[in-house]
């Protein structure tokens, strides 16, 4: 079985590893247009921010036996001959072909757009950092996830940054308007000037001109205007393409020998732009092509977006835009504290969490992500989920409030009642109580509590006397 993978990014390289993990003898060839070994694109924002070095985002080297052709672009699929042709004039026959060509940045059709640097690859990252070394200000065009991360990364390097976003609020795909507003305020406090409803009209050598005619001076302009699936190979080969390459639950295109995964694929109407779905898809394809799991199917992914930006904690998942006015019975639970940069929202339908926004640090993120991912039933009063820690058991450590049945010494099963009985039988100091009950002789941590109870009993006696 000859398996050819086009694309050596996060989806393609993962697939190669998944296949080799299932079948040590599988013949896998991977073509990568970039000359670099695969790296973790998710972490590029951290490289830009300086919180990770380039060497720290390298993905594991491909498993032994994977034939990786770096810098070799595939130019054509000959479906009849089951062969791919490459720009260097070569060709590679396949039994199974997997397209993992990813996506490319959208460059807005405005004058001077090529003066801006798109933020997509490690090379882009290098170029941005090179320019940032001499620039005094930066403009980021596009206030989606990547644009926010880029803006925050550059501001963290001490550079004033203006973030332009054409929509009414930041990250409008993931956030509702209020969350977008609170996020903008949080960024403002970190050196990012947010301009929403702002359209860039041109990029000049020393700044960005807005549609209003206003010019923002800047030596560094970063483009984060979204991405577009790379589908040319598939289209030229006659495979059905929508926004992405159309695949079924087996991740197969219309040609049963050709699969597509990752950001270039469109499954059930959706093109996924995050890594988790790409890896789920890679596992399914690996199961199928190696025969390890012939029943494996891909049924779509639940999306959790987690912003990677220092001092800004944001998680958004699912259908965050639903409101009580939406179709069906939807409950929305919301808490806002703008001064602290806190916004929390739960969207509940049929007793299940179908969406959530958590802005500002909270330990609730773990619990809510799990509830969303697994579709588990919510508690009768879901509002408590927004305030974890409130449910901690009250501790009655004052001797007065403690019931007699309360265990003071866990290690030796000594209750307050036994200490009292012991005291009433004449043991008037700690050592005497310890000798009679063995309290404090295990882990020793109840010593203060035992002394407190004895002191309280002694004081009570004085009061009565």
């Amino acid at each position: 079985m000859r398996i050819v993978i086009v694309g050596n990014g996060m989806a393609g390289s993962r697939l190669a590893a998944e296949i080799r993990a299932r079948d040590k003898d599988a013949r896998v060839t991977v073509f990568g247009a970039e000359t670099r070994a695969p790296y973790n694109r998710v972490l590029l924002s951290n490289v830009l921010a300086g919180t990770a070095g380039p060497e720290q985002v390298c993905l594991p080297t491909p498993a032994e036996g994977v034939d990786t052709r770096l810098g070799v672009t595939v130019t054509e699929i000959d479906r009849a001959a089951r062969t791919v042709r490459t720009a260097d004039g070569g060709g590679e026959p396949y039994d199974v072909l997997v397209l993992a060509t990813g996506s490319e940045p959208v460059v807005p059709p405005i004058p001077g757009a090529t003066r801006a640097i798109a933020f997509r690859t490690m090379d882009d990252c290098d170029r941005i950092l090179g320019a940032a070394a001499t620039a005094t200000t930066a403009v980021v065009i596009g206030g989606g996830l990547l644009g926010v991360e880029a803006a925050r990364g550059l501001s963290g390097r001490g550079m004033p940054v203006t973030l332009l976003h054409v929509a009414g609020h930041l990250m409008d795909r993931q956030l509702d308007a209020e969350a977008g507003l609170v996020l903008g305020e949080a960024l403002a406090g970190l050196g990012v000037t947010v301009r929403t409803g702002a359209r860039a009209a041109a990029v000049h050598p020393h700044g960005v001109e807005l549609s209003t005619g206003e010019v923002l001076a800047s030596e560094l302009v970063v483009l984060a205007c979204g991405v577009r699936p790379v589908t040319g190979l598939a289209r030229d080969a006659g495979l059905p393409v929508g926004r992405g390459i159309i695949v079924d639950d087996r991740l197969r295109t219309a040609d049963p020998a050709i699969y597509a995964i990752g950001e270039c694929a469109q499954h059930d109407g959706t093109v996924y732009g995050l890594v988790a779905p790409a890896w789920e898809q890679a596992a399914v394809v690996a199961d199928l092509v190696t025969g390890a799991g012939p029943a494996a199917r891909y049924r779509g992914s639940r999306l959790v977006t987690r912003l990677k930006a220092r001092s800004v904690e944001l998680a958004a998942m699912g259908e965050t835009h639903l409101t009580e006015e939406s179709a069906g019975t939807v409950e929305v639970v919301r808490f806002t504290h703008r001064a602290r940069g806190i916004y929390r929202k739960l969207v509940i339908r049929d007793d299940r969490l179908v969406g959530a926004i958590l802005l500002g640090e909270t330990p609730a993120v773990g619990t809510l992500t799990h509830l969303y991912d697994r579709g588990g039933p919510l508690p009768v009063d879901p509002a408590g989920l927004l305030f974890p820690g409130q449910d901690a058991a009250p501790r009655a450590d004052s001797p007065v409030r403690m019931p007699d049945a309360a265990r003071v010494c866990e290690c030796n099963n000594v209750t307050k009642g036994r200490i009292r009985a012991c005291w009433e039988a004449g043991a008037r100091d700690t050592e005497a109580v310890v000798a009679a009950t063995r309290a404090t002789t295990g882990c020793g941590s109840c010593r203060d509590a035992v002394e407190g109870i004895i002191g309280w009993l002694c004081r009570q006696e004085e009061v009565r006397a």
Partner: protein, 723 residues
């Protein structure tokens, strides 16, 4: 190279010393507790009227005068009516166990063993040992299996306990000594991370050694977690992803100790690459632990002058337990902890002799001295000590669960000897295991109480216990201790060594199986000489005179090895090995039919399968029975309150127990203690590919309100009335 400073002396001074404990009022024979691997020192004295008193010893660093309730009440089992004092046997499989003479009992066992071996070959006889057995017993049991029975079918309950930590430590360090440093080092650590350990319940005096910041990783807010500076509460079965996420953070935030990594380790580049795909947000999604908490944990470790990472069964008892421990070891290595005085990685050994019990040959793949049974040099050395041809030694046998699962099957053992273990309660998928035990031609159990497994046996042999015999124990530090006889055993019982001696003689081995512990220990010393766990320099006299000796002790004038990794690791190149590992989900994840996780664990008042502690009144008063711990949100959904009977079902079985409702557990998880028959009816025997550890700590269950029997009967009557 700079000589490492000596740290045998004083460690940093504690700011808040633990409570002093009562001064000893009685003295008696200086010995050690019968229960956990802390092996607390205690005096046992018997007055003229036969009353036995226990007082704690101050000269044993592990407990320094402290005891928990199990230790204080340990004497109850020496004198109580629960003791077996005569051999028992059945006239037929269906008949009752009735008293028989020792000769009759041993003759029956020998005849039964010969019969199955004559018909089916040597491997038709199998042996199942225990981590509570002394070193002498564990050693002699392994020799008995290989030499007298010539079977490869021997394993022990420690497979259910320490095997994952052992496999990971051997892989990384070339040596598995639970704590490769004295326990007193822990008090000097600025930060201790405890992954899946609940010492407040399992070994309470251990808490006295925790003085610095404490990071606890546990799906439950246990009493140990309640004391923690930081508690990370991952979903069951995700400790591995959590460790990978924390290593990612440690690397990206510059906490990796590059000098240490270069000088003392190998394989860092691969380990670093393996966590490149475990950015913290991804780990958060899998584990449910917020990124900010992971960072805080890494900062507590990385900013500490001295730090330790310690794993317990919570991280280890998984079908990926060895890799999980490896991930925590990788984190420790990246931070430069192992082999640095006052820092390190260690595991919390569970059973009393869980350390020594895993060193001297009662493991399926092992020979004494922590040698591998498939190593020709090891076979030659041990065969010479035993006076047999190396070619006659059997090879590796089945691991514990695989052995139990094969009992009475085509090609599986037909006879089983059980020493110091109660697998009918303690094995995973216990209902199935009980069925396998019942399918045997011959089940023989040596114990001092009639455990659930003993109650199924064809022959029960009553043994001496703990304070009634001499022997050595190796505690969680790897310190070899002398557990002295303090009282006379009741008449009618024999030591395990005497049982082995009697059986060996009947099987044609009149020599080579002494019933005298000192004689057996001297032979163990020779058999272990030159091995990883080298006891050759240890004598009863040396350990009687002091606080014990840390192995390896290769000569009688060798002082022992408190910190074996200071200068080099016992790997071929002297370096510790990073091993890249990856996360995978639990062997059985939750789904619509079984929507909650079950995790299992311990309570303070009981030990292991409860065979001992459930027979002690004071401990039953403290913890009278099993329970199901569940979150208030789940309880509300099920319409149960504390005390209501709850039914928990997995694909393997069903059990019922009262609810205990509280917010200390995750909403998606229920907990049951395993000291009673019940919890293990549910657990999953999926095995770790390397350590063969079953997945005790996570399986999928359904949880329902149970209808009490009376109500069920009433419903049934009503149904009949309608029909």
């Amino acid at each position: 190279m700079k000589r490492p400073e000596s740290t045998i002396g004083s460690m940093s001074v504690s700011l808040s010393p633990p409570a002093p404990v009562m001064a000893p009022v009685h003295q008696g024979e200086a010995t050690h507790c019968p229960y956990c691997a802390l092996q607390c020192g205690m005096y046992v004295s018997e007055d003229a009227g036969g009353a036995i008193t226990i007082t704690p010893r101050h000269d044993v660093p592990a407990n320094d005068g402290a005891l928990c309730q199990k230790g204080w009440t340990a004497a109850a089992l020496l004198t109580g009516g629960a003791r077996l004092t005569t051999p028992l046997a059945r006239a037929s499989r269906a008949g009752p166990l009735v008293p028989v003479s020792w000769d009759d009992a041993l003759d029956r066992v020998a005849a039964g063993l010969r019969a199955v071996q004559d018909e089916h070959g040597p491997d038709a006889a199998a042996v199942f040992g225990g981590g509570g057995l002394t070193n002498e017993k564990a050693y002699l049991l392994g020799k008995f299996a290989r030499v007298a029975l010539r079977t490869g079918q021997i394993d022990y309950n420690g497979r259910f306990c320490m095997s994952s930590a052992a496999a990971a430590a051997n892989r990384a360090f070339g040596m598995d000594r639970g704590l490769p440093f004295p326990i007193t080092d822990i008090a000097g650590a600025d930060t201790v991370m405890m992954a899946g350990g609940n010492v407040a319940e399992t070994m309470p005096p251990f808490l006295r050694h925790l003085r610095g910041a404490l990071v606890v990783i546990d799906p439950r807010r246990t009493r140990t977690a309640g004391r923690a500076t930081l508690h990370l509460q991952p979903a069951p079965g995700t400790d591995l992803a959590l460790a990978l996420g924390m290593l990612h953070i440690a690397v990206t935030e510059g906490y990796a100790d590059q000098d240490y990594i270069a000088a003392r380790t190998s394989g860092f580049a691969e380990a670093r690459a393996s966590v490149a795909t475990w950015w913290p947000e991804r780990a958060e999604r899998v584990t449910g632990v917020p990124v900010a908490r992971m960072r805080e944990a890494v900062h507590l470790l990385g900013d500490a002058g001295k730090a330790m990472i310690i794993t317990g069964r919570g991280a280890e008892q998984h079908a990926k337990g060895a890799d999980t421990v490896t991930a925590y070891i990788n984190l420790a290595l990246a931070l430069g902890l192992p082999g640095r005085p006052g820092s390190g990685y260690g595991c919390l050994t569970g059973q009393g002799n869980g350390q020594g019990g895993r060193e001297h040959g009662q493991k399926a793949d092992q020979l004494p001295g922590y040698r591998r049974i498939d190593d020709p040099a090891a076979r030659a050395h041990v065969a010479a000590v035993w006076g047999v041809d190396p070619a006659d030694l059997p090879g590796p046998g089945r691991s514990a669960y695989e052995l139990l699962d094969a009992l009475g099957t085509e090609g599986g053992p037909k006879a089983l000897l059980v020493f110091g273990s109660n697998p009918a309660v303690s094995a995973p998928r216990a209902g199935h295991v009980a069925g396998r035990l019942a399918a045997l031609d011959l089940l023989v159990v040596c114990d001092f109480v009639l455990s659930e497994t003993a109650a199924m046996a064809d022959v029960v042999l009553p043994t001496t216990q703990w304070a009634e015999e001499h022997g050595t124990m190796t505690n969680l530090e790897g310190r070899v201790l002398l557990r002295r006889q303090a009282v006379a055993p009741p008449s009618g019982v024999r030591s395990d060594l005497a049982v082995i001696n009697g059986l060996a003689a009947r099987l044609g081995h009149a020599d080579g199986f002494s019933a005298d512990p000192g004689t057996v220990f001297d032979e163990l010393r020779r058999a272990s000489a030159g091995g990883v766990a080298d006891y050759s320099g240890i004598t009863y006299e040396r350990i009687a005179a002091g606080p014990g000796l840390f192995w390896p002790v290769p000569a009688e004038d060798h002082p022992g090895t408190p910190r074996p990794f200071l200068d080099r690791f016992p790997t071929p190149d002297g370096r510790a090995r990073f091993v890249p590992v990856d996360h995978r989900p639990p062997a059985e994840d939750v789904d619509e039919d079984y929507p909650y996780y079950l995790t299992t664990g311990r309570v303070l008042a009981h030990y292991q399968s409860g065979a001992q502690t459930r027979r002690i009144a004071a401990l039953n008063e403290a913890s009278p029975g099993p329970y199901v711990e569940l979150h208030p949100d789940l309880a509300e959904r099920l319409e149960v309150v504390s005390g209501d009977l709850v039914r928990v079902s997995s694909r393997r079985g069903t059990t019922e127990a009262p609810a205990r409702v509280g917010p200390a557990i995750r909403r998606d998880t229920v907990f049951m203690p395993f000291h009673w028959a019940g919890a293990n009816l549910l657990t999953n025997p999926a095995l770790d590919p390397l350590s063969r550890m079953p997945e005790f700590k996570v399986c999928a269950v359904r949880v329902e309100r149970a209808v009490p029997d009376a109500a069920r009967a009433a419903d049934a009557r009503a149904d009949r009335g309608r029909a």
